[in-house]
């Protein structure tokens, strides 16, 4: 690359300023590291955040390692096949001190350290762990985004107040990640890419103001961007080693040499372009497993190993405001001829939706006691059944039915549940219509979710007039013709109902109370007009 391509002026930022001038009033460009503010920085509880968004990146530097093993004492290395050759891709600190390095061949590594434990890379488990971390991050912010293979992003502007400031939030997050079995490095910046770059390469990277961003990014190495090796090599040969140097390159020339997409990425890095992120939605089934380091045959121990899984399950359910009515467990056995099944299943069916780990544990304990295990257990798996929406509510002082506990949210919930399965027309309430025509004297209506405690309507029964027959409890949807009405025994009647001339559906009928040969009481009518046909309209029930 010709020497004269090297640019030392701050053209990058000049161009940036021009771009910005269109929308914003001119600002002091952060050409150099900003002058320390005259006013001392406010305390942590009220951080001086002027950015519209604040992104926190979790970078999991030891993901490869943590996916395959608990970080323990024996020196361990993760190997991966690279162009047909197995090479070390990650190692524990203990192994590193013994001279094991990334890229070392397997035989070379074993020659250096004979008792080195080698594990193949487990991509699926890595992904799982990442999702686990992202799921845990949902406790801190609803806007979580994945950055595979080893990053998770959170938008935390709205969460700072709740968690008591950035430092407290970062600390809590790191603790949660550790609980999930992942070491996390944290970077905070007004845009996702800068936060990621910071988390990847800096020890503690926390920028809460747009104005400081470029200056803080400048010393970071190019590696932070995860660009292809070819690009990095070319930039390296140009003498560009840090982000600061990169940002000083002229825009047009950079775009020509490295492509527009890289330019867009740089614009996103300094916050000139916003970066749309896909929000992480956790999957709607819980699945967890634990592998104890030894074989268990004791039910109490199994339950103890299941406890952390159940705690995870509870968190999972709480985040979604859901509950379960079914929980599946599998207890895996070592493959042996004497044991026909690889695992023993256990299905927990609950009568009411449940979410509490404590209650699951109690139920599981009771079920486990009865479970016969053909062999010791080497692995426990837990899978949730269908998730049911479950509104957590404060429980009333009185239990339902005790001292007349008020009708809570069960009523609408019941309607929703029934309608979800049966369709909304299948669930309805009744109401009266002041009408003489029997089929129009009632109507379907929306079920009342707030019920009057005193039913005044029931009191207002109209006194029966002469010739008024009592009404049947059942009404047929459509009156049925009665071909053999002569076999009916007429008990009471007639009651003449003649009405409805105003809407064209007028009726002229003589109603009778009749009994059929089985002893069922029927409500029948005879049309007044020819052909004087008989119809069945109701059953007294």
């Amino acid at each position: 690359m010709p020497r004269n391509n090297r640019v030392t002026s701050a053209r990058w930022l000049d161009a940036g300023r021009q771009g910005r001038a269109a929308t914003h009033p001119p600002q002091a460009a952060p050409l150099v590291a900003p002058v320390p503010p005259i006013v001392p920085a406010p305390p942590e509880s009220q951080p001086g955040i002027d950015a519209a968004q604040l992104w926190l990146a979790l970078h999991l530097p030891a993901l490869l390692l943590e996916a395959v093993a608990k970080v323990g004492d024996p020196p361990l290395a993760v190997i991966d096949t690279d162009r047909g050759v197995q090479r070390v891709v990650a190692m524990t600190a203990a192994a590193r001190t013994q001279g094991i390095q990334r890229g070392l061949g397997v035989s070379a590594a074993l020659a250096l350290l004979a008792d080195l434990v080698l594990r193949p890379r487990d991509l699926r488990r890595e992904q799982q762990l990442l999702i686990q971390v992202a799921t845990a991050a949902l406790d801190f912010s609803p806007r979580v985004s994945l950055e595979p293979p080893d990053g998770v992003l959170l938008e935390i502007k709205g969460s700072l107040q709740l968690f008591g400031g950035l430092a407290a939030l970062s600390h809590a997050l790191q603790q949660r990640c550790a609980a999930e079995g992942a070491t996390a490095r944290i970077g905070v910046a007004p845009n996702p890419l800068a936060a990621l770059a910071g988390a990847r390469t800096a020890r503690s990277f926390s920028v809460t103001s747009e104005a400081q961003l470029v200056a803080r990014l400048a010393p970071l190495p190019l590696l932070a961007l995860r660009w292809p090796d070819v690009t990095l090599d070319r930039l390296g040969s140009m003498g560009v080693r840090t982000l600061g140097e990169l940002l000083r390159l002229p825009r047009a020339g950079f775009a020509k040499r490295f492509g527009r997409s890289q330019l867009v990425m740089l614009d996103r890095l300094v916050g000139k372009l916003s970066e749309p992120r896909q929000i992480f939605r956790p999957k709607e089934r819980f699945r967890g497993r634990c592998e104890p380091s030894f074989e268990i045959s004791d039910h109490g121990t199994i339950l103890r190993y299941l406890q952390p899984l159940l705690a995870q399950l509870e968190r999972f359910l709480r985040q979604r405001q859901c509950a379960l009515t079914a929980l599946h467990c599998r207890f895996w056995h070592r493959r042996a001829d004497a044991v026909p099944a690889r695992f023993t299943p256990l299905r927990l069916a609950l009568a009411a939706p449940e979410w509490s780990a404590e209650r699951f544990a109690a139920l599981l304990g009771a079920h486990l006691e009865r479970l016969v295990l053909p062999a010791p257990v080497i692995r426990c798996e837990l899978r949730s059944g269908e998730l049911l929406p479950f509104a957590l509510s404060s429980s009333s002082l009185w239990q339902l039915g005790e001292h007349g506990g008020a009708q809570g949210p069960e009523a609408p919930a019941l309607i929703e549940r029934l309608r979800a399965r049966l369709g909304s027309a299948a669930v309805y309430g009744l109401c009266l219509v002041p009408e003489h025509r029997p089929e129009h004297a009632w109507s379907v209506r929306e079920p009342a979710t707030t019920l009057a405690t005193t039913a005044d309507a029931a009191r207002a029964v109209t006194p029966p007039v002469d010739g008024y027959l009592r009404r049947p409890l059942w009404l047929l949807q459509q009156a049925q013709p009665l071909p053999d009405a002569s076999r009916l025994q007429l008990l009471e009647g007639p009651e003449r109902i003649e009405s409805g001339w105003w809407d064209g559906r007028d009726i002229a009928r003589d109603y009778y109370l009749a009994r059929d040969r089985h002893g069922t009481e029927l409500w029948v009518y005879r049309q007044r007009l020819a052909p004087h046909a008989w119809f069945l309209h109701g059953v007294f029930g």
Partner: protein
């Protein structure tokens, strides 16, 4: 026997741990509105929670009329809860219900192809004081197992379940707390308690006019 020892014995027999033939069901009960029926039932009325099976030759032989005083009573209770009608064979007729003193606005009709499922939901939710379900005979297969679930749901939701089945299903065993065989007679029904914890065994007749208002 002197009177004092008689009362002492009587007090002793009131102890809940003592089991004596007819006097077993000492849970809370709800009057049926028919003195004859109250007398025949253990504890003097319907149980407050649980499932009751009514076996009829066909729909509409008086099985619903039999429940009207009960439903009227339940629909006046505070707090207000629904009465669910699950898969009724015809439309419940609001004017007639009103005549019987049943509060119309507390009725909930559910048209379900799986009545037992809907009934379990209704009873278990706690939002229904009672649920009535109609079960054609082809649906009553394997009822025993489902009924146990219903029983539990009814206890959880503090509700009363009435299940209407056809006579044919009397052959199958049932975990219901109470099973009644219903037959029509003129102006009333003939009842027989197929299963009850200490109720009357022999059939007896009820007249509609007997109902206490």
């Amino acid at each position: 026997m002197p009177a004092s020892s008689d009362t002492a014995l009587h007090e002793l027999l009131q102890h809940p741990a003592i089991w004596r033939g007819r006097s077993t069901a000492r849970g809370a009960t709800l009057s049926t509105g028919f003195p004859r029926l109250d007398e025949a039932l253990p504890g003097g009325g319907w149980p407050r929670t649980g499932c009751i099976e009514l076996l009829t030759p066909r729909w509409g032989v008086g099985e619903l009329r039999l429940l009207m005083p009960t439903l009227a009573q339940l629909s006046q209770l505070v707090p207000a809860r629904w009465l669910a009608w699950i898969a009724p064979p015809f439309e419940p007729y609001a004017p007639a219900l009103l005549e019987q003193g049943v509060a119309i606005e507390r009725q909930l009709v559910v048209r379900a192809s799986k009545p037992l499922w809907a009934m379990e939901q209704a009873l278990g939710s706690g939002a229904c004081a009672a649920a009535l379900a109609w079960l054609p005979s082809e649906r009553s297969r394997g009822l025993a197992r489902r009924l146990r679930r219903l029983q539990l749901a009814a206890e959880r939701g503090q509700g009363l379940g009435f299940l209407f089945c056809e006579h044919a299903s009397a052959r199958e065993s049932s975990p219901a707390a109470l099973r009644l065989w219903v037959e029509p007679i003129e102006q009333g029904v003939r009842l027989r308690l197929l299963k009850s914890r200490g109720g009357l065994r022999s059939p007896f007749e009820l007249r509609w006019t007997d109902a206490t208002q």
